[in-house]
Protein backbone atom coordinates (compact mmCIF):
# COMPACT_ATOMS: atom_id res chain seq x y z
CA UNK A 1 0.00 0.00 0.00
CA UNK A 2 1.68 3.21 -1.07
CA UNK A 3 1.97 6.19 1.20
CA UNK A 4 -0.60 8.96 0.64
CA UNK A 5 -1.22 12.30 2.29
CA UNK A 6 -4.22 10.81 4.14
CA UNK A 7 -2.12 8.06 5.69
CA UNK A 8 0.54 10.57 6.77
CA UNK A 9 -2.09 12.79 8.38
CA UNK A 10 -3.79 9.84 10.10
CA UNK A 11 -0.56 8.52 11.56
CA UNK A 12 0.45 11.97 12.79
CA UNK A 13 -2.90 12.56 14.42
CA UNK A 14 -2.86 9.08 15.97
CA UNK A 15 0.54 9.77 17.53
CA UNK A 16 0.14 13.43 18.51
CA UNK A 17 -3.58 14.04 18.67
CA UNK A 18 -4.74 17.64 18.81
CA UNK A 19 -1.24 19.00 18.57
CA UNK A 20 -1.40 18.49 14.79
CA UNK A 21 -3.45 21.15 13.01
CA UNK A 22 -4.31 20.15 9.45
CA UNK A 23 -3.50 23.00 7.06
CA UNK A 24 -4.92 21.33 3.97
CA UNK A 25 -3.11 20.25 0.81
CA UNK A 26 -2.28 23.41 -1.12
CA UNK A 27 -1.22 22.32 -4.63
CA UNK A 28 -1.05 18.70 -3.43
CA UNK A 29 1.46 19.20 -0.60
CA UNK A 30 0.09 18.21 2.84
CA UNK A 31 0.64 21.07 5.26
CA UNK A 32 0.34 20.73 9.04
CA UNK A 33 0.98 23.06 11.93
CA UNK A 34 2.75 21.80 15.04
CA UNK A 35 3.41 23.61 18.34
CA UNK A 36 7.06 24.40 18.89
CA UNK A 37 7.26 22.27 22.03
CA UNK A 38 6.45 19.15 19.98
CA UNK A 39 8.37 19.82 16.80
CA UNK A 40 11.43 17.72 17.60
CA UNK A 41 9.25 14.77 18.66
CA UNK A 42 7.25 15.10 15.44
CA UNK A 43 10.39 15.24 13.28
CA UNK A 44 11.88 12.27 15.11
CA UNK A 45 8.61 10.31 14.70
CA UNK A 46 8.46 11.11 10.98
CA UNK A 47 12.10 10.02 10.61
CA UNK A 48 11.94 6.77 12.59
CA UNK A 49 8.50 5.42 11.68
CA UNK A 50 8.90 2.60 9.16
CA UNK A 51 5.83 3.57 7.11
CA UNK A 52 6.43 7.32 7.09
CA UNK A 53 10.22 7.42 6.59
CA UNK A 54 10.59 11.19 6.05
CA UNK A 55 14.35 11.04 6.13
CA UNK A 56 15.26 13.94 3.86
CA UNK A 57 14.84 17.57 4.82
CA UNK A 58 14.38 19.55 1.64
CA UNK A 59 14.15 23.02 3.15
CA UNK A 60 13.79 25.11 6.28
CA UNK A 61 12.90 28.77 6.15
CA UNK A 62 11.24 31.52 8.13
CA UNK A 63 8.28 33.81 7.47
CA UNK A 64 7.21 36.94 9.32
CA UNK A 65 3.53 37.74 9.82
CA UNK A 66 3.51 41.02 11.72
CA UNK A 67 -0.30 41.10 11.96
CA UNK A 68 -0.78 37.81 13.83
CA UNK A 69 -0.30 38.59 17.50
CA UNK A 70 1.57 35.89 19.36
CA UNK A 71 2.34 34.02 16.14
CA UNK A 72 4.45 36.51 14.24
CA UNK A 73 7.37 34.31 13.29
CA UNK A 74 6.93 31.03 11.46
CA UNK A 75 9.46 28.32 10.68
CA UNK A 76 8.47 26.19 7.69
CA UNK A 77 9.99 22.74 7.23
CA UNK A 78 9.73 20.84 3.94
CA UNK A 79 10.34 17.11 4.32
CA UNK A 80 10.53 14.45 1.64
CA UNK A 81 10.16 10.69 1.73
CA UNK A 82 12.42 9.80 -1.20
CA UNK A 83 11.33 6.18 -1.50
CA UNK A 84 7.57 6.70 -1.59
CA UNK A 85 8.00 10.15 -3.15
CA UNK A 86 5.75 11.98 -0.70
CA UNK A 87 6.39 15.51 0.55
CA UNK A 88 5.24 17.20 3.74
CA UNK A 89 5.24 20.78 4.95
CA UNK A 90 5.31 21.53 8.68
CA UNK A 91 4.85 24.98 10.14
CA UNK A 92 5.81 26.11 13.62
CA UNK A 93 4.67 29.50 14.87
CA UNK A 94 6.24 31.49 17.67
CA UNK A 95 5.81 34.91 19.18
CA UNK A 96 8.25 37.60 18.17
CA UNK A 97 8.90 38.35 21.84
CA UNK A 98 9.99 34.77 22.54
CA UNK A 99 11.53 33.68 19.25
CA UNK A 100 12.96 30.38 20.55
CA UNK A 101 12.40 27.22 18.55
CA UNK A 102 14.14 23.89 19.18
CA UNK A 103 16.85 23.15 16.64
CA UNK A 104 16.29 20.30 14.19
CA UNK A 105 20.01 19.60 13.73
CA UNK A 106 19.85 16.54 15.97
CA UNK A 107 17.42 14.87 13.57
CA UNK A 108 18.60 16.39 10.27
CA UNK A 109 22.23 17.58 10.10
CA UNK A 110 21.34 19.55 6.98
CA UNK A 111 19.30 21.95 9.12
CA UNK A 112 22.54 23.47 10.42
CA UNK A 113 23.04 26.18 7.79
CA UNK A 114 19.35 26.47 7.01
CA UNK A 115 18.71 27.47 10.64
CA UNK A 116 21.65 29.87 10.61
CA UNK A 117 20.16 31.55 7.55
CA UNK A 118 16.72 31.75 9.23
CA UNK A 119 18.34 33.21 12.36
CA UNK A 120 20.26 35.70 10.23
CA UNK A 121 17.12 36.88 8.44
CA UNK A 122 14.46 36.71 11.18
CA UNK A 123 16.20 36.45 14.54
CA UNK A 124 14.65 33.11 15.44
CA UNK A 125 16.80 31.55 18.14
CA UNK A 126 17.24 27.84 17.49
CA UNK A 127 17.81 26.27 20.90
CA UNK A 128 20.43 23.55 20.75
CA UNK A 129 22.07 24.64 17.51
CA UNK A 130 25.84 23.96 17.58
CA UNK A 131 26.92 27.21 15.95
CA UNK A 132 24.12 29.77 15.72
CA UNK A 133 25.66 32.85 14.18
CA UNK A 134 24.95 34.91 11.10
CA UNK A 135 25.81 33.30 7.84
CA UNK A 136 25.03 35.59 4.92
CA UNK A 137 25.10 39.05 6.48
CA UNK A 138 27.97 40.77 8.29
CA UNK A 139 28.43 39.68 11.88
CA UNK A 140 28.12 43.25 13.14
CA UNK A 141 24.57 43.67 11.80
CA UNK A 142 22.29 44.37 14.72
CA UNK A 143 18.87 43.85 13.17
CA UNK A 144 17.09 41.06 11.32
CA UNK A 145 16.60 42.30 7.76
CA UNK A 146 13.80 40.11 6.41
CA UNK A 147 11.35 41.20 9.08
CA UNK A 148 8.61 43.22 7.48
CA UNK A 149 9.36 46.44 9.40
CA UNK A 150 12.71 46.90 7.68
CA UNK A 151 12.78 48.53 4.28
CA UNK A 152 14.77 47.07 1.43
CA UNK A 153 17.60 49.56 1.79
CA UNK A 154 19.33 50.53 5.01
CA UNK A 155 18.31 54.15 5.54
CA UNK A 156 21.22 54.87 7.86
CA UNK A 157 23.98 54.44 5.28
CA UNK A 158 26.18 57.47 4.77
CA UNK A 159 28.46 56.08 2.10
CA UNK A 160 26.01 56.12 -0.81
CA UNK A 161 25.09 59.40 -2.52
CA UNK A 162 21.77 59.00 -4.35
CA UNK A 163 21.44 62.74 -5.05
CA UNK A 164 22.21 62.30 -8.75
CA UNK A 165 19.71 59.46 -9.13
CA UNK A 166 16.73 61.44 -7.94
CA UNK A 167 16.59 59.59 -4.64
CA UNK A 168 18.47 62.18 -2.57
Amino acid sequence: MSLTNDIVLQKLQAAFGDAIVNGGEPYGLLTVEVPKADIINVLRFLFDDETLKFRFMTDLCGVHYPDEAGRELAVVYHLHNLEANVRLRIKVFTSIHEPDVPSATAVFPTANWMERETYDFYGINFVGHPNLKRILNVDEMDYFPLRKEYPLEDQTRTDKDDEMFGRG
Binding site: T58, D59, L82, R87, L152
Partner: protein, 408 residues
Protein backbone atom coordinates in the same frame (compact mmCIF):
# COMPACT_ATOMS: atom_id res chain seq x y z
CA UNK B 1 53.86 9.62 13.01
CA UNK B 2 50.13 10.22 13.51
CA UNK B 3 49.06 13.79 12.88
CA UNK B 4 47.57 14.40 16.29
CA UNK B 5 50.70 13.65 18.31
CA UNK B 6 53.13 15.32 15.94
CA UNK B 7 53.94 18.36 18.07
CA UNK B 8 53.93 18.65 21.84
CA UNK B 9 53.94 22.23 23.04
CA UNK B 10 55.28 23.28 26.44
CA UNK B 11 52.83 24.46 29.07
CA UNK B 12 51.66 28.08 28.57
CA UNK B 13 53.01 28.31 25.03
CA UNK B 14 51.26 30.81 22.77
CA UNK B 15 52.03 28.76 19.66
CA UNK B 16 49.44 26.52 18.03
CA UNK B 17 49.95 23.04 16.68
CA UNK B 18 48.23 23.92 13.42
CA UNK B 19 48.74 26.66 10.83
CA UNK B 20 45.78 28.76 9.82
CA UNK B 21 45.47 29.05 6.06
CA UNK B 22 42.93 31.45 4.67
CA UNK B 23 41.74 30.16 1.29
CA UNK B 24 39.70 32.88 -0.29
CA UNK B 25 37.43 34.68 -0.64
CA UNK B 26 39.23 35.83 -3.76
CA UNK B 27 41.47 32.99 -4.79
CA UNK B 28 42.06 31.43 -8.18
CA UNK B 29 41.36 27.99 -6.82
CA UNK B 30 38.00 28.76 -5.28
CA UNK B 31 35.77 29.24 -8.31
CA UNK B 32 33.62 31.89 -6.83
CA UNK B 33 33.64 34.18 -3.83
CA UNK B 34 33.63 32.03 -0.74
CA UNK B 35 36.13 31.50 1.98
CA UNK B 36 37.59 28.54 3.79
CA UNK B 37 39.67 29.06 6.88
CA UNK B 38 41.70 25.88 7.05
CA UNK B 39 43.66 24.62 10.01
CA UNK B 40 46.61 22.79 8.53
CA UNK B 41 49.03 20.37 10.09
CA UNK B 42 51.84 20.68 7.57
CA UNK B 43 50.09 19.93 4.32
CA UNK B 44 47.13 18.09 5.80
CA UNK B 45 43.84 19.76 6.51
CA UNK B 46 42.80 19.26 10.13
CA UNK B 47 39.60 21.26 9.98
CA UNK B 48 38.01 23.95 7.86
CA UNK B 49 35.51 26.65 8.59
CA UNK B 50 33.49 27.98 5.70
CA UNK B 51 32.40 31.58 5.40
CA UNK B 52 29.84 32.49 2.80
CA UNK B 53 27.88 35.64 2.11
CA UNK B 54 30.44 37.65 0.15
CA UNK B 55 28.04 37.93 -2.76
CA UNK B 56 24.81 38.03 -0.77
CA UNK B 57 22.49 40.32 -2.68
CA UNK B 58 19.34 39.99 -0.58
CA UNK B 59 17.32 38.27 -3.32
CA UNK B 60 14.66 37.07 -0.93
CA UNK B 61 14.08 40.58 0.39
CA UNK B 62 14.19 42.01 -3.14
CA UNK B 63 11.60 39.51 -4.30
CA UNK B 64 9.13 40.84 -1.74
CA UNK B 65 9.18 44.18 -3.57
CA UNK B 66 9.10 42.98 -7.16
CA UNK B 67 6.22 41.68 -9.31
CA UNK B 68 6.65 38.30 -10.94
CA UNK B 69 8.38 39.31 -14.15
CA UNK B 70 10.81 41.53 -12.30
CA UNK B 71 11.94 38.54 -10.25
CA UNK B 72 13.11 36.58 -13.30
CA UNK B 73 16.28 38.68 -13.74
CA UNK B 74 17.28 38.01 -10.15
CA UNK B 75 16.79 34.27 -10.57
CA UNK B 76 19.30 34.48 -13.45
CA UNK B 77 21.93 35.36 -10.92
CA UNK B 78 21.49 32.34 -8.70
CA UNK B 79 23.40 29.63 -10.52
CA UNK B 80 24.74 31.89 -13.23
CA UNK B 81 26.39 29.07 -15.18
CA UNK B 82 22.97 27.67 -16.06
CA UNK B 83 20.60 30.62 -15.72
CA UNK B 84 17.88 29.31 -18.07
CA UNK B 85 17.15 26.53 -15.59
CA UNK B 86 16.63 29.07 -12.81
CA UNK B 87 14.43 31.26 -15.01
CA UNK B 88 12.26 28.37 -16.12
CA UNK B 89 12.03 26.95 -12.62
CA UNK B 90 10.70 30.32 -11.49
CA UNK B 91 8.23 30.59 -14.36
CA UNK B 92 7.02 27.06 -13.68
CA UNK B 93 6.47 27.96 -10.02
CA UNK B 94 4.36 30.93 -11.11
CA UNK B 95 2.48 28.71 -13.56
CA UNK B 96 1.75 26.23 -10.77
CA UNK B 97 0.36 29.01 -8.59
CA UNK B 98 -1.65 30.58 -11.40
CA UNK B 99 -2.88 27.29 -12.85
CA UNK B 100 -1.37 27.84 -16.30
CA UNK B 101 -0.88 24.80 -18.53
CA UNK B 102 1.79 24.97 -21.15
CA UNK B 103 1.38 23.34 -24.58
CA UNK B 104 3.63 20.41 -25.46
CA UNK B 105 5.72 22.33 -27.95
CA UNK B 106 6.57 24.90 -25.28
CA UNK B 107 7.58 22.12 -22.89
CA UNK B 108 9.86 20.53 -25.47
CA UNK B 109 11.49 23.86 -26.34
CA UNK B 110 12.00 24.53 -22.64
CA UNK B 111 13.59 21.13 -22.22
CA UNK B 112 16.04 21.83 -25.02
CA UNK B 113 17.12 25.07 -23.38
CA UNK B 114 17.32 23.54 -19.89
CA UNK B 115 19.40 20.59 -21.04
CA UNK B 116 21.73 22.90 -22.96
CA UNK B 117 22.18 24.86 -19.73
CA UNK B 118 22.87 21.66 -17.82
CA UNK B 119 25.52 20.67 -20.35
CA UNK B 120 27.12 24.13 -20.01
CA UNK B 121 27.29 23.90 -16.25
CA UNK B 122 28.69 20.38 -16.20
CA UNK B 123 31.28 21.14 -18.84
CA UNK B 124 32.58 24.03 -16.80
CA UNK B 125 32.72 21.97 -13.64
CA UNK B 126 34.47 19.01 -15.21
CA UNK B 127 36.97 21.02 -17.19
CA UNK B 128 37.79 23.08 -14.09
CA UNK B 129 38.41 19.90 -12.12
CA UNK B 130 40.87 19.12 -14.89
CA UNK B 131 42.48 22.55 -14.55
CA UNK B 132 42.87 22.06 -10.81
CA UNK B 133 44.76 18.84 -11.41
CA UNK B 134 46.99 20.69 -13.84
CA UNK B 135 45.37 19.73 -17.15
CA UNK B 136 44.45 22.94 -18.91
CA UNK B 137 43.77 21.52 -22.38
CA UNK B 138 40.37 20.00 -21.62
CA UNK B 139 39.09 23.32 -20.36
CA UNK B 140 40.15 25.22 -23.49
CA UNK B 141 38.65 22.65 -25.86
CA UNK B 142 35.29 22.42 -24.10
CA UNK B 143 34.72 26.09 -23.26
CA UNK B 144 34.45 26.78 -26.96
CA UNK B 145 31.17 24.85 -27.01
CA UNK B 146 29.69 27.17 -24.43
CA UNK B 147 30.03 29.81 -27.13
CA UNK B 148 27.73 27.80 -29.42
CA UNK B 149 25.16 27.53 -26.67
CA UNK B 150 25.39 31.25 -25.92
CA UNK B 151 24.59 31.92 -29.57
CA UNK B 152 21.49 29.73 -29.30
CA UNK B 153 20.34 31.61 -26.19
CA UNK B 154 21.01 34.88 -27.96
CA UNK B 155 18.74 33.88 -30.85
CA UNK B 156 15.90 33.22 -28.43
CA UNK B 157 16.16 35.87 -25.76
CA UNK B 158 18.96 38.25 -26.72
CA UNK B 159 21.28 37.56 -23.80
CA UNK B 160 24.15 35.15 -23.39
CA UNK B 161 24.91 34.50 -19.75
CA UNK B 162 22.20 35.91 -17.51
CA UNK B 163 19.43 35.08 -19.89
CA UNK B 164 16.12 36.28 -18.37
CA UNK B 165 14.67 33.84 -20.87
CA UNK B 166 11.03 32.97 -21.33
CA UNK B 167 7.70 34.18 -20.04
CA UNK B 168 5.02 32.73 -17.80
CA UNK B 169 3.47 30.29 -20.25
CA UNK B 170 6.29 29.92 -22.71
CA UNK B 171 8.80 31.95 -24.64
CA UNK B 172 8.98 35.52 -25.84
CA UNK B 173 9.43 34.49 -29.46
CA UNK B 174 9.42 31.37 -31.57
CA UNK B 175 12.78 29.76 -32.16
CA UNK B 176 14.07 31.04 -35.50
CA UNK B 177 15.59 28.80 -38.18
CA UNK B 178 19.00 30.17 -37.18
CA UNK B 179 18.47 28.89 -33.65
CA UNK B 180 17.66 25.41 -34.94
CA UNK B 181 20.63 25.49 -37.33
CA UNK B 182 22.91 26.39 -34.44
CA UNK B 183 21.33 23.64 -32.36
CA UNK B 184 22.04 21.12 -35.10
CA UNK B 185 25.63 22.32 -35.29
CA UNK B 186 26.00 21.88 -31.54
CA UNK B 187 24.48 18.41 -31.66
CA UNK B 188 26.91 17.42 -34.39
CA UNK B 189 30.10 18.92 -32.96
CA UNK B 190 29.79 18.65 -29.19
CA UNK B 191 29.67 14.83 -28.92
CA UNK B 192 32.98 14.71 -30.80
CA UNK B 193 34.59 17.18 -28.40
CA UNK B 194 33.13 15.43 -25.35
CA UNK B 195 34.50 12.11 -26.59
CA UNK B 196 37.95 13.65 -26.96
CA UNK B 197 37.66 15.14 -23.48
CA UNK B 198 36.73 11.74 -22.07
CA UNK B 199 39.61 10.08 -23.88
CA UNK B 200 41.92 12.60 -22.26
CA UNK B 201 40.64 12.25 -18.70
CA UNK B 202 38.54 9.19 -17.93
CA UNK B 203 41.24 6.53 -17.93
CA UNK B 204 44.16 8.89 -17.50
CA UNK B 205 46.32 7.42 -14.79
CA UNK B 206 47.41 10.72 -13.29
CA UNK B 207 43.88 12.09 -13.21
CA UNK B 208 42.50 8.92 -11.68
CA UNK B 209 45.12 8.83 -8.97
CA UNK B 210 44.55 12.51 -8.15
CA UNK B 211 40.78 12.23 -7.92
CA UNK B 212 39.94 8.71 -6.76
CA UNK B 213 39.47 8.40 -3.03
CA UNK B 214 39.40 12.14 -2.42
CA UNK B 215 36.30 13.72 -0.91
CA UNK B 216 34.42 10.45 -0.60
CA UNK B 217 31.05 10.46 1.11
CA UNK B 218 28.62 7.65 1.84
CA UNK B 219 25.00 7.74 0.71
CA UNK B 220 23.64 8.07 4.28
CA UNK B 221 25.91 11.01 5.11
CA UNK B 222 25.10 12.64 1.78
CA UNK B 223 21.36 12.36 2.44
CA UNK B 224 21.85 13.62 5.99
CA UNK B 225 23.58 16.71 4.58
CA UNK B 226 20.68 17.33 2.21
CA UNK B 227 22.80 16.82 -0.89
CA UNK B 228 20.98 16.49 -4.18
CA UNK B 229 22.04 16.43 -7.80
CA UNK B 230 25.24 14.94 -9.22
CA UNK B 231 26.96 15.01 -5.81
CA UNK B 232 24.25 12.78 -4.33
CA UNK B 233 24.09 10.56 -7.39
CA UNK B 234 27.85 10.02 -7.20
CA UNK B 235 27.28 8.59 -3.72
CA UNK B 236 24.84 6.04 -5.12
CA UNK B 237 21.36 7.53 -4.61
CA UNK B 238 19.45 7.89 -7.87
CA UNK B 239 17.25 10.83 -6.87
CA UNK B 240 16.54 13.11 -9.82
CA UNK B 241 13.66 15.60 -9.70
CA UNK B 242 13.08 15.15 -13.45
CA UNK B 243 12.17 11.52 -12.83
CA UNK B 244 10.60 11.65 -9.37
CA UNK B 245 8.47 14.78 -9.76
CA UNK B 246 8.38 15.19 -13.54
CA UNK B 247 7.73 18.71 -14.72
CA UNK B 248 7.64 20.23 -18.17
CA UNK B 249 6.82 16.89 -19.89
CA UNK B 250 10.07 15.15 -18.88
CA UNK B 251 8.01 11.98 -18.54
CA UNK B 252 7.80 11.86 -22.37
CA UNK B 253 11.53 11.33 -22.65
CA UNK B 254 13.79 8.35 -22.27
CA UNK B 255 17.00 8.89 -20.38
CA UNK B 256 19.13 7.19 -17.75
CA UNK B 257 20.38 8.51 -14.43
CA UNK B 258 24.15 7.93 -14.07
CA UNK B 259 24.99 6.85 -10.54
CA UNK B 260 28.36 6.41 -8.81
CA UNK B 261 29.39 4.27 -5.88
CA UNK B 262 31.84 5.93 -3.52
CA UNK B 263 30.90 9.59 -3.91
CA UNK B 264 34.51 10.63 -4.37
CA UNK B 265 35.84 13.23 -6.79
CA UNK B 266 36.28 10.70 -9.58
CA UNK B 267 32.69 9.48 -9.26
CA UNK B 268 31.37 13.05 -9.33
CA UNK B 269 33.41 13.70 -12.48
CA UNK B 270 32.11 10.54 -14.14
CA UNK B 271 28.49 11.22 -13.12
CA UNK B 272 28.67 14.69 -14.66
CA UNK B 273 30.14 13.29 -17.88
CA UNK B 274 27.37 10.69 -17.98
CA UNK B 275 24.76 13.38 -17.43
CA UNK B 276 26.09 15.38 -20.35
CA UNK B 277 25.61 12.37 -22.62
CA UNK B 278 22.08 11.87 -21.26
CA UNK B 279 21.32 15.56 -21.80
CA UNK B 280 22.45 15.24 -25.43
CA UNK B 281 20.12 12.26 -25.75
CA UNK B 282 17.21 14.27 -24.34
CA UNK B 283 17.91 17.23 -26.64
CA UNK B 284 17.94 14.98 -29.71
CA UNK B 285 14.61 13.43 -28.71
CA UNK B 286 13.11 16.85 -28.03
CA UNK B 287 14.33 18.21 -31.35
CA UNK B 288 12.80 15.27 -33.22
CA UNK B 289 9.51 15.74 -31.42
CA UNK B 290 9.51 19.42 -32.30
CA UNK B 291 10.15 18.68 -35.95
CA UNK B 292 7.11 16.40 -35.77
CA UNK B 293 4.72 19.27 -35.13
CA UNK B 294 2.93 20.50 -38.27
CA UNK B 295 0.61 23.31 -39.26
CA UNK B 296 -0.61 25.66 -36.56
CA UNK B 297 0.89 23.52 -33.81
CA UNK B 298 4.35 24.20 -35.16
CA UNK B 299 3.92 27.93 -34.51
CA UNK B 300 2.95 27.61 -30.86
CA UNK B 301 5.49 29.06 -28.48
CA UNK B 302 3.41 30.13 -25.50
CA UNK B 303 0.22 29.36 -23.63
CA UNK B 304 -2.81 31.60 -24.12
CA UNK B 305 -2.79 33.52 -20.87
CA UNK B 306 -3.14 37.20 -21.75
CA UNK B 307 -3.37 38.12 -18.07
CA UNK B 308 0.20 36.97 -17.45
CA UNK B 309 1.89 36.76 -20.85
CA UNK B 310 3.31 40.02 -22.17
CA UNK B 311 1.70 41.03 -25.47
CA UNK B 312 3.69 41.12 -28.72
CA UNK B 313 6.00 44.08 -29.08
CA UNK B 314 4.48 45.10 -32.44
CA UNK B 315 1.13 45.49 -30.65
CA UNK B 316 2.63 47.21 -27.63
CA UNK B 317 4.11 49.89 -29.83
CA UNK B 318 0.98 50.46 -31.89
CA UNK B 319 -2.13 49.56 -29.90
CA UNK B 320 -3.32 51.22 -26.69
CA UNK B 321 -4.81 48.08 -25.08
CA UNK B 322 -1.63 46.10 -25.61
CA UNK B 323 0.41 48.93 -24.08
CA UNK B 324 -1.84 48.99 -21.04
CA UNK B 325 -1.66 45.21 -20.63
CA UNK B 326 2.12 45.30 -20.93
CA UNK B 327 2.35 47.97 -18.27
CA UNK B 328 -0.08 46.23 -15.93
CA UNK B 329 1.61 42.85 -16.19
CA UNK B 330 5.12 44.21 -15.62
CA UNK B 331 3.99 46.30 -12.67
CA UNK B 332 2.11 43.38 -11.18
CA UNK B 333 -1.38 44.82 -11.43
CA UNK B 334 -2.95 41.56 -12.66
CA UNK B 335 -4.55 39.35 -10.04
CA UNK B 336 -2.53 36.59 -8.40
CA UNK B 337 -4.39 34.05 -6.26
CA UNK B 338 -3.60 33.75 -2.56
CA UNK B 339 -1.77 30.56 -1.66
CA UNK B 340 1.56 28.89 -1.09
CA UNK B 341 3.37 26.67 -3.51
CA UNK B 342 6.66 24.82 -3.49
CA UNK B 343 8.02 23.80 -6.86
CA UNK B 344 11.39 22.32 -7.61
CA UNK B 345 13.37 21.63 -10.75
CA UNK B 346 16.52 19.61 -11.29
CA UNK B 347 19.16 22.31 -11.49
CA UNK B 348 22.67 21.49 -12.53
CA UNK B 349 23.64 21.15 -8.87
CA UNK B 350 20.56 19.48 -7.52
CA UNK B 351 17.03 20.25 -6.46
CA UNK B 352 16.47 23.96 -6.97
CA UNK B 353 13.27 24.80 -5.13
CA UNK B 354 11.07 27.88 -5.02
CA UNK B 355 8.78 28.35 -2.01
CA UNK B 356 6.35 31.07 -2.97
CA UNK B 357 3.79 32.44 -0.50
CA UNK B 358 1.34 34.82 -2.15
CA UNK B 359 -1.11 37.02 -0.27
CA UNK B 360 -2.94 38.06 -3.42
CA UNK B 361 -0.90 41.22 -3.81
CA UNK B 362 1.36 42.46 -6.59
CA UNK B 363 4.50 40.88 -5.21
CA UNK B 364 5.25 37.67 -3.30
CA UNK B 365 4.66 37.86 0.44
CA UNK B 366 7.61 35.52 0.86
CA UNK B 367 9.84 33.90 -1.72
CA UNK B 368 12.47 31.48 -0.57
CA UNK B 369 14.97 29.81 -2.88
CA UNK B 370 16.03 26.32 -1.89
CA UNK B 371 19.58 26.54 -3.18
CA UNK B 372 21.38 23.20 -3.53
CA UNK B 373 24.92 24.64 -3.37
CA UNK B 374 24.24 26.39 -0.06
CA UNK B 375 22.93 23.19 1.44
CA UNK B 376 25.66 20.83 0.38
CA UNK B 377 28.55 23.18 1.07
CA UNK B 378 28.02 22.30 4.73
CA UNK B 379 29.48 18.89 3.93
CA UNK B 380 32.82 20.30 2.83
CA UNK B 381 34.46 20.09 6.23
CA UNK B 382 33.74 16.39 6.45
CA UNK B 383 34.92 15.81 2.89
CA UNK B 384 38.21 17.69 3.28
CA UNK B 385 39.22 16.50 6.73
CA UNK B 386 42.54 14.75 6.67
CA UNK B 387 43.23 15.42 3.00
CA UNK B 388 46.30 17.09 1.61
CA UNK B 389 45.78 20.69 0.62
CA UNK B 390 45.85 20.03 -3.13
CA UNK B 391 43.30 17.25 -2.78
CA UNK B 392 41.09 19.46 -0.62
CA UNK B 393 41.12 22.01 -3.46
CA UNK B 394 40.09 19.36 -5.99
CA UNK B 395 37.26 18.30 -3.68
CA UNK B 396 36.15 21.92 -3.54
CA UNK B 397 36.00 22.24 -7.32
CA UNK B 398 34.41 18.87 -7.92
CA UNK B 399 31.48 19.88 -5.72
CA UNK B 400 30.65 22.55 -8.30
CA UNK B 401 29.99 25.41 -5.91
CA UNK B 402 28.64 28.45 -7.69
CA UNK B 403 28.89 31.49 -5.43
CA UNK B 404 25.68 33.03 -6.78
CA UNK B 405 23.67 30.05 -5.66
CA UNK B 406 25.53 29.87 -2.37
CA UNK B 407 24.54 33.33 -1.26
CA UNK B 408 21.50 34.51 -3.17
Amino acid sequence: MDQNSAIILPEGSIEKTTTTLNVGPTHPATHGVFQNIMQMDGERVVSTEQTVGYIHRAFEKLAERRPLYQITPITDRLNYCSSPINNMGWHMTCEKLLGVETPKRVDYLRIIIMELARICDHLICNSIVGVDTGAFTGFLYLMQYRELVYEIYEEVCGSRLTTNIGRIGGFERNFSNTAFTKLEKFLKEYPVALKEFENLFNRNRIFMERTQGGGAISAERALAYGMTGPNLRAAGVDYDVRVHNPYCSYQDFEFDIPVGTTGDNYDRFMVRNGEMWQSLRIIEQAYQKIQGFTGAEAEVYHAEVPAYYLPKKEDVYTKMEALIWHFKIIMGETAIPKGEVYHSVEGANGELGFYFISDGGRTPYRLHFRRPCFIYYQAYEELAKGAMLSDAIITLSSLNLIAGELDA
